[in-house]
Amino acid sequence: MSATADTLARDVVAFPSRAWFERLAALMNANRTRQEQLGYVDCIAQFTVLDGAADGGALAYRISFEEFEALGVEEPTTRDLGPADFALEGSLATWREMIENIAAGKGRPDLEHSLNRLSHMGTPLQLVYTDPVRMDCYFRFNQSLQEFVNASALFTTAYGR
């Protein structure tokens, strides 16, 4: 891990929050060598925590990937797809279980907690899309997206806003 990534890894970040996804984006960008091994990622992915808000409503985070970088994180006011190619939606409990599993595996989920494993049957994560060609981006860049969330093992996550 680079010195920048090491610095980024030290403190505690709340989930779900824009800061949590910005931390993942910063870690991805600090580890460009790995991204160059995996190849281009060109898509806009949305991660939605269906019951993440204080009032039990949904919170969504939209990450723009281009080339080898996460360009930015937005927090749209609704869970609508907007410009996103696809969204992964799930409950806070599901996301938490996945993040804790990745942390326990030191950056690698066990067989039951990969993104594809959790979303393939439409539950507990659901892949949401309107255009099947743009939805295919989820598959075309799956390894990169998996490693994007795997980086959560590099810092401590606190749950609840």
Partner: protein, 398 residues
């Protein structure tokens, strides 16, 4: 170190490299003698000039060319999109009329009459091949290549209980069997495609490489885990139908959109039901490649139908092709040698195969639903005529 393998150890003892018959050799000689005047004239002029010690330097002249307009790289380097922005290089003809290797954008017109014609270049219409995402997918494919020898942690492969190992190896045998048709099909059309459609040819070359790697990785996985198991007639008929498709678009529909769409679903299921991290990594890597091929298939069909001067006839023709194609593909996807190992892996053991079939039924609906969505995205409303059952007909006769 790679040592040469003695032929005897790989079953070639007694085999001979082929020799042409006298008639075959004479035919080849005659075919080139037929054009003797054309190429011998070029050769004669070249020899004469060299003997004279004379320079031609005609290649320094730029009339009729596009000299001096330099391509500028973008953030990713110098892509086809970047060089196609330079005037004179990015015009992809609707109909190719150069049937040799003279590069698009070069000064070639003055030499046309003296150049040979490659008879195999038969796909002359751009819209039999083109997809709006083909350059993007080509760049993506190059950037996301991987190596089945060293990028998979083979030394971490764990032995599984016999039923799960056999199910995994049977699934890998199926995938080994089907993957190379997805290489042979683009290869068949690659060499029929004129050089002016270089972007499509380049993408098809990456598909060939991807499929070689898939065949390789599943063969390796099976042999590392116990061995290859059963080939199946149902797979073979589906593969033959793909290879025999009468046009590039029809074959691309059958292979990239339907066949690879279903194989993409198998890869996603494979990742989901993988019993080792090694298997998970293999399926995840492969599904990324497969999704590119599916994406090309959808947008190629979309472009074909959107630009066809007789769209209704083209759609009807495609429906008739799909009526057969779907059934032949179904013969592969209903084979016991595919359905049953997937059900065992889904259920968790041979004893739980019935439970696995329930899960497979759920996935089947999803697979066929996604196929029909892709057809719709391509402008091909297949849902009313789809011949594949929307629900897995498991046990309906019981």
């Amino acid at each position: 170190m790679n040592e040469p393998v003695p032929a005897a150890t790989i079953g070639l003892a007694g085999a001979r490299a082929s020799l042409l018959t006298e008639a075959q050799l004479a035919h080849y000689e005659a075919s080139y003698r037929k054009d003797y005047q054309a190429w011998a004239e070029v050769l004669g002029e070249n020899i004469e000039r060299i003997r004279r010690g004379s320079f031609s330097l005609h290649w320094l002249k730029t009339d009729g060319g596009n000299w001096g307009k330099r391509a500028k790289p973008s953030s990713r380097g110098l892509t086809y999109t970047d060089i196609n922005r330079v005037r004179g290089y990015g015009d992809i003809p609707e109909h190719a009329d150069w049937f040799n290797f003279a590069p698009r954008g070069s000064i070639r017109e003055p030499y046309r009459a003296r150049m040979p014609v490659v008879d195999d270049y038969t796909v002359t219409a751009r819209d039999e091949l083109w997809a709006d995402n083909v350059i993007t997918l080509y760049e993506e494919a190059k950037a996301r290549q991987w190596n089945a020898t060293k990028d998979i942690a083979w030394d971490e492969l764990e032995p599984l209980p016999e039923d799960l190992e056999k199910a995994t190896c049977q699934l890998c045998t199926f995938l080994t069997e089907v993957e190379f048709v997805a290489g042979d099909f683009p290869a068949k059309w690659l060499y029929r495609t004129p050089q002016d459609f270089l972007e499509v040819k380049s993408f098809l070359a990456t598909q060939l490489m991807d499929e070689a790697r898939h065949q390789e990785v599943f063969r390796k996985r099976a042999i590392a885990g116990g061995g290859l198991l059963h080939a199946s007639p149902g797979f073979e008929w589906a593969l033959k139908a793909i290879l025999d498709a009468p046009s590039h678009t029809m074959g691309t529909f059958l292979l990239n959109l339907l066949g690879e769409g279903l194989v993409l679903s198998v890869f996603r299921s494979g990742e989901m039901i993988a019993k080792t991290q090694v298997d998970k990594e293999i399926f995840r890597r492969c599904l990324q490649d497969e999704a590119r091929h599916v994406s090309y298939g959808v947008l190629e069909l979309k472009n074909y139908l959107a630009t066809h001067p007789e769209r209704e006839r083209a759609v009807e023709e495609l429906h008739r092709f799909a009526d057969i194609g779907e059934q032949v593909i179904l013969s592969a996807f209903t084979e016991a040698a595919l359905v049953e190992p997937v059900a065992v892996l889904l259920g968790g053991s041979l004893k739980q195969i019935d439970k696995g079939m329930e899960g497979l039924g759920h996935m089947w609906r999803m697979f066929i639903g996604e196929y029909l969505q892709r057809c719709t995205a391509a402008g091909f409303d297949r849902a009313p005529r789809c011949t594949i059952p929307l629900d897995l007909p498991w046990g309906v006769a019981a």
